[in-house]
Symmetry: C2
Subunit: 425 residues, 2 copies
């Protein structure tokens, strides 16, 4: 029976039962963590052979004869550029390979835009007074944290089934030239697992922003992170170029959830003009990124197909975890009509949408019962969920028994807060 | 006989002889490179065993149980902090360990200062109109390139035998609060190999800058790069703290010329307040630096003594190269009284001071004869050597026969330009 159909007495009985279950739980002093989108140990073990794929002096040379142990090649060795080019379906000379954090190369791009401006811009972003970014929500907290640090005002854009609300995006960017960018995770977006439709990607490619220095930050973090077979998204860089918008997209990706979260490779793909501008200041910023690690990855994965094969092993480990969560939601929440959730076909997160005004309450109830969730509000700019209703679920790190226990508790807490809010109506 | 003592006829005869030697040289179509401060292959081979010191899953855990393959620990694993703390004689909690480029962490510190300001500052550097840096000259071109990119005005400070002209430094920083920093390479400075005396370091520790947000960028790149036994410099961070200047120094170092130039570790040491402020934005900037590589270095070198032992092997390879250059200068240039040069006891460079107005000419003559030198002017802000007389010699990368050939040609070119300038007087 849906909670919405219960009368007060039924709700009070339900509350009593839930409270009792919760009281039992508290006695167990559990310590479970569903807060972080981290690969688990078994996933990291998949890449063990990468560790020592470079063992001797002879292993240290690229095809072109570059000694990867020494200085030079600030934009990445050719083999690594090729690997990412193949993965992202762009040309090698549209790619820069960075260090182990794609977040860092996004941060650097924004920093450069703030201080020096971008191709086609008249002034640095930082010299144009208040500037703004569009933020599809729910989204990735670390994207929003960069904007907040830089003092860039963030505007929420609702996520729909096939990507951000493009009517709103088109209208806002065409009207307001203080809007300089938008954050997108186009495939298995964090946290709702949405895959942008081809139509959405094409609308991005066709955008006519008022600001000549507007940029799409296209964080393709989960480009090959499919759980049920490969899903392809449309190629933004190519489509944008065909529509005279070649300098608009900045594409980012990494191997953080392919090889090692703490020691992978990151890459940026963009128009040649963007790449040249970035390379110019990159050559002043750094002596170069770790080329031994670049060559390690190339020797180990060989090519994009090698990565795709490897990702099937990740999928085999992750799939049952996602299913554990979704099954629990179907079992415990669906019959009560109190929540909605995404059913991602890849990526690292599930978004749970509960009764408005309940997310913080559920976070706290779960915490008190020993289950750490991502803080309510985290998937929104400034940490503020306007409706206080979205929770980000990260199933990857706990074991399945831990996850199963944690999600049962989460469901209990969702039920408790739902009953409370019906009783308070 | 000194050129200065020759009459016109003697000079003309000398010119004829030098021109003939040069003409012979041109026929050889040589290709030699003395331009880059890069370790040679034999030096890189010294660290081969570092490559595969982490081979299996079991090798991937820190003392504290952190899995270095996964996310987390943005400021570096404890073991790596300890290693650098020992090397720099500071406490572990005064250290952040970065990626493979110390230049990048210096650039990041300046970027953060420009955008967000520093501890004790009232405004970001970038919001204070024109700001300035003091630049001891000759110095490191990549330091100056950062200032130029950021639009920071550079003021030349002459280098003396025991460090920068401290009278000038003290006077300028006490008078002008738009001076926000100074670049220092305190040990075996690039390119003259100068070691700052204890007195110089103490004068830095005692500085009373007018700007509350003044910083000393102390690039201790050659902290353990001794060629003839260990030389110690005074501890700036400790002395500054004792004098109420604890937030003034920012110390940088790296293993680029200890392990691998293209895949080492970098570190920053500073006051706790500085470290905390940096960590705060670092946590937004990046997901973390490569912790596997941090652990690799710790497992391989063990401790500071391990590094010091390793550096003796580098010294054994580098010493004969430095001596090849210095012997050639003594043989070819000393008898003519036309040049002065530094005789570094460590580091990577030798500074050659020739007849004023000749450095560009010598660079070009050498280039035409197939010897690539660091461009004249490079060791100065904006690439401008006011007297056009300093050449930076980098002996590390060529083999000894190549180096010997190259330095002989360099000496010939120095003689040619010297004769020319005496004839033009």
């Amino acid at each position: 029976m849906f909670y919405s159909q219960m009368n007060k007495e039924q709700l009070l009985n339900e509350k009593k039962s839930l409270d009792k279950q919760y009281a039992e739980l508290l006695k167990k002093e559990l310590k479970l963590d569903m807060s972080r989108g981290k690969p688990d140990t078994a996933q990291l073990d998949l890449s063990t052979d990468l560790l020592a794929v470079i063992k001797t002096e002879k292993d240290c040379y690229t095809e072109k004869g570059v000694d990867v142990r020494n200085y030079g090649v600030v934009d990445g060795i050719s083999e690594a550029k090729k690997l990412f080019a193949e993965l992202l379906d762009v040309n090698e000379d549209n790619v820069i390979v960075g260090g182990c954090s794609s977040l860092n190369i996004m941060y650097d791009e924004i920093t450069r835009a703030m201080m020096f401006g971008v191709v086609g811009g008249k002034k640095p972003w930082g010299a144009q007074g208040k500037i703004k970014f569009l933020c599809p929500v729910p989204g990735y907290d670390r994207h929003f944290a960069i904007c907040e640090l830089m003092g860039i005002e963030m505007i929420n854009i609702p996520m729909k089934k096939d990507g951000p609300d493009m009517d709103m995006v088109e209208r806002l960017v065409s009207e307001d030239d203080s809007i300089k960018g938008i954050w997108c995770v186009p495939k298995y977006s964090n946290p709702d697992g949405c895959v942008y439709s081809d139509k959405t990607v094409m609308r991005f490619a066709f955008l006519k922003p008022k600001a000549p220095d507007f940029r799409i930050f296209w964080d393709n973090a989960y480009a090959v992170h499919d759980l049920y077979g490969e899903i392809k998204i449309a190629n933004l860089l190519k489509s944008a170029a065909e529509n005279g918008n070649e300098n608009m997209p900045l594409i980012f990706t990494s191997t953080s959830k392919i090889s090692f979260a703490g020691a992978g490779l990151s890459a940026m793909a963009a128009s040649k003009a963007n790449i040249e501008k970035t390379k110019k200041s990159l050559g002043i910023q750094t002596i170069g990124f770790d080329k031994i690690n670049q060559l390690r990855h190339v020797k180990y994965f060989k090519n994009a197909d090698g990565i795709r094969e490897h990702m099937k092993k990740h999928a085999a480990l992750l799939r049952p975890k996602f299913e554990t969560v979704l099954n629990a939601f179907n079992t415990h929440l669906k019959p009560l009509g109190i929540s909605e959730w995404s059913e991602p076909k890849g990526g690292y997160f599930i978004s749970l949408s509960i009764t408005a005004g309940s997310a913080k309450r559920v976070y706290q109830l779960a915490k008190d019962a020993g289950v750490t969730l991502t803080p309510a509000g985290a998937p929104f700019p400034y940490g503020i969920d306007p409706e206080d209703k979205i929770l980000r679920i990260a199933p990857s790190y706990p074991t399945i028994p831990e996850l199963s226990a944690a999600v049962d508790i989460l469901c209990l807490c969702v039920k408790m807060s739902a009953v409370e809010s019906y009783l308070n109506k």
